[in-house]
């Protein structure tokens, strides 16, 4: 087991998700499968390999200049929002 039900419940809580018992079982088992599969990577000796994010040193400092370009309109920006009023995305209240 790479991950237990308690940790799945903790991550669900952080993610503001609620699951029933059956779902907890299912997701714990699926997450275990995924993590065990990814663990195959540990078999490779990477001692001499740079981390993926740093690559070879030639690849660094990919910058853009500080120039403004047009943004989306607020209508376009809100198009994917499940709920919106006026110019804002509307969500369940997050503080009491």
């Amino acid at each position: 087991m790479k991950i237990g039900k308690a940790e799945v419940a903790h991550i669900a809580n952080l993610s503001r998700l609620e699951f029933g018992d059956a779902e907890m079982e299912l997701f714990t088992s699926q997450l275990n499968d995924i993590l065990l599969y990814m663990e195959k990577l540990s078999a490779v000796d990477t001692a001499s390999v740079m981390p993926a994010t740093t690559q070879e040193m030639a690849r660094h400092n990919a910058f853009r200049e500080d120039v403004v370009a047009p943004s989306l309109s607020s209508e376009e920006a809100l198009r994917n929002a499940p709920d919106a009023t006026g110019d804002c995305i509307r969500v369940p209240k997050v503080v009491e």
């Binding site: 500080d66 370009a69 989306l72 607020s74 969500v91 997050v94």
Partner: protein, 477 residues
């Protein structure tokens, strides 16, 4: 029991770039909600962030101004948390490899210098803004601020009182504004501060449990919130309780802080390297260029004003608190060659007029050339210091030069000896009784004669000359 207070501050400063940190949306404050967004800052699938070079340069400037080491290699990480103001569900920040570390700031408090360590300065993106509905169970999300560049400046726990924390904060703020990399407006959230506060028995080596204070939107509130927290923790410990590690929100209206319990606190950020962004590599040449671009910083400028212009430390502090004010003052000095008088007039009349209008020096209609000319006219005796105070008000209102105002208002001072003698002769003739009493020893009647002479000349008699002549003439007859 006596306690030692231990304070560390985390400051978030919004950088004054034109565009956001990882996309080309505008950073302008106050636009209509969700009008400065794009697929990158909305966190749409498949987009890639590209770092704004100016963000790195601004952060480097602050790092150099606070004596930090700039790391030749730094990288970005994802800080994961779920909150509606964060569309990607992670904030791009720097974690194990920040841009700069190991700096310090020297602050002055009650005439004593103290060094506050700076742990690190890193680059990150701001989150969006939530507006809460007081009457309905909703919050509204505006993502214009999402992706606005920030630097976070983390101090060592080197401060031991609310006053020290406030002094450190003001010093940081002053530098950010001098560097022109942050507008420093606390009310609009472009300069934000969180405080970690704990107490421990005097002499103890081990820090107490700390509370993190948030939501303090002015220097005064930072100081009040820390003072309240120190009292709260002392009371708890003295009454057999213990401090728990928690985040507390300052309520400025009630003057208390409240615990932010529950889910908001269940942080588990699971930082990991951001595979979308390449590392930043900074070479010596780039650092040298940034160092050369630094303006004279407030502390150095203060020291120079005290040494070169021979003005008191307090005056130098006022004149350098705002960079534009310091430029204004130096321009008056350059044009007039009178550093002390310039300091008195800028700190006195100019700032008084501006404060009454709640304006800053950039909106001042009295030009440095105008003030320099005014100082010259006082020295030459064309007008008295008292008259000059009226003239500067006219200059401030009309934006005119002092010579124009003096000409149109007929204000110029009477320094012609014969004219003043004629006036005094006339007054003496009209007031024989007072003259007799004065000569009999009633000295305070001198003021009466001064008053009569000023009245007769419409306040234009050169005061020094009038005094001299009156003394002679009252005694001589």
């Amino acid at each position: 029991m006596d306690f030692t207070t231990v304070i560390g501050l985390e400051v978030h400063a919004q950088l004054l770039t034109k565009s956001k940190i990882f996309c080309s949306c505008s950073t302008t404050f106050g636009a209509s909600p969700n009008s400065h967004t794009c697929p990158v800052c909305l966190g749409m699938p498949g987009v890639l962030p590209v770092l704004n070079k100016t963000v790195v340069e601004f952060a480097m400037k602050m790092a150099l101004a606070t004596n930090c080491n700039i790391n030749k290699f730094s990288s970005f990480a994802r800080k994961n948390y779920f909150y509606p103001d964060l569309p990607k569900a992670y904030q791009i920040s720097q974690y194990s490899e920040p841009l700069a570390e190991h700096g310090y700031m020297d602050i002055e408090l009650d005439g004593k210098m103290k060094r506050i360590g700076i742990t690190r300065i890193h680059i990150e993106e701001d989150a969006g803004k939530l507006l809460h509905d007081d009457h309905n169970p909703f919050s509204y999300v505006d993502l214009n601020r999402t992706g606005v560049p920030l630097i976070e400046i983390v101090s060592e726990p080197d401060m031991h009182s609310a006053e020290e924390a406030a002094a450190y904060l003001r010093a940081l703020h002053e530098i950010l504004v001098y560097l022109e990399i942050c507008d420093g407006t606390m009310e609009e959230g472009s300069f934000r501060c969180d405080a970690n506060v704990s107490i421990m028995p005097v002499g103890s080596q081990e820090f107490g449990t700390r509370a993190e204070l948030k939501n303090m939107n002015s220097f005064r509130n930072v100081q009040r919130a820390i003072e309240y927290e120190v009292k709260r923790q002392s009371y708890l410990i003295e009454n057999g309780g213990r401090v728990i590690q928690e985040t507390r929100l300052w309520d400025a209206n009630a003057g208390v802080s409240n615990s932010m319990r529950g889910k908001e606190e269940a942080h588990d950020y699971r930082y990991f390297p951001d595979p979308d962004l390449l590392p930043v590599i900074v070479n010596d040449d780039w650092i040298a260029r940034m160092r050369e671009s630094l303006p004279e910083l407030p502390a150095a400028k203060r020291a120079r004003f005290i040494a070169d212009y021979e003005i008191p430390a307090y005056d130098a502090g006022v004149l350098t608190a705002d960079k534009r004010l310091s430029f204004y003052y130096e321009e008056v000095v350059r044009l007039s060659g009178k550093p002390k008088q310039a300091s008195n007039w800028v700190m006195g009349e100019v700032l008084r007029l501006l404060n009454e209008d709640k304006k800053d020096i950039s909106a001042c209609a009295v030009s440095p050339a105008g003030l320099a000319m005014l100082l010259e006219l006082i020295e030459k005796g064309t007008i008295s210091g008292k008259m000059a105070k009226d003239v500067i008000v006219e200059m401030y209102v009309a934006g005119a030069m002092p010579d124009e105002i003096i000409a149109t208002k007929g204000l110029s001072q009477i320094s012609d000896e014969s004219a003043i003698i004629a006036t005094i002769t006339d007054i003496i003739a009209k007031n024989p009784e007072q003259l007799e009493q004065f000569r009999a020893g009633k000295d305070k009647l001198f003021g009466f004669f001064v008053g009569q002479a000023m009245k007769a000349t419409g306040g234009k008699a050169n005061p020094a000359l009038l005094n001299d002549l009156l003394k002679k003439m009252l005694a001589a007859n």
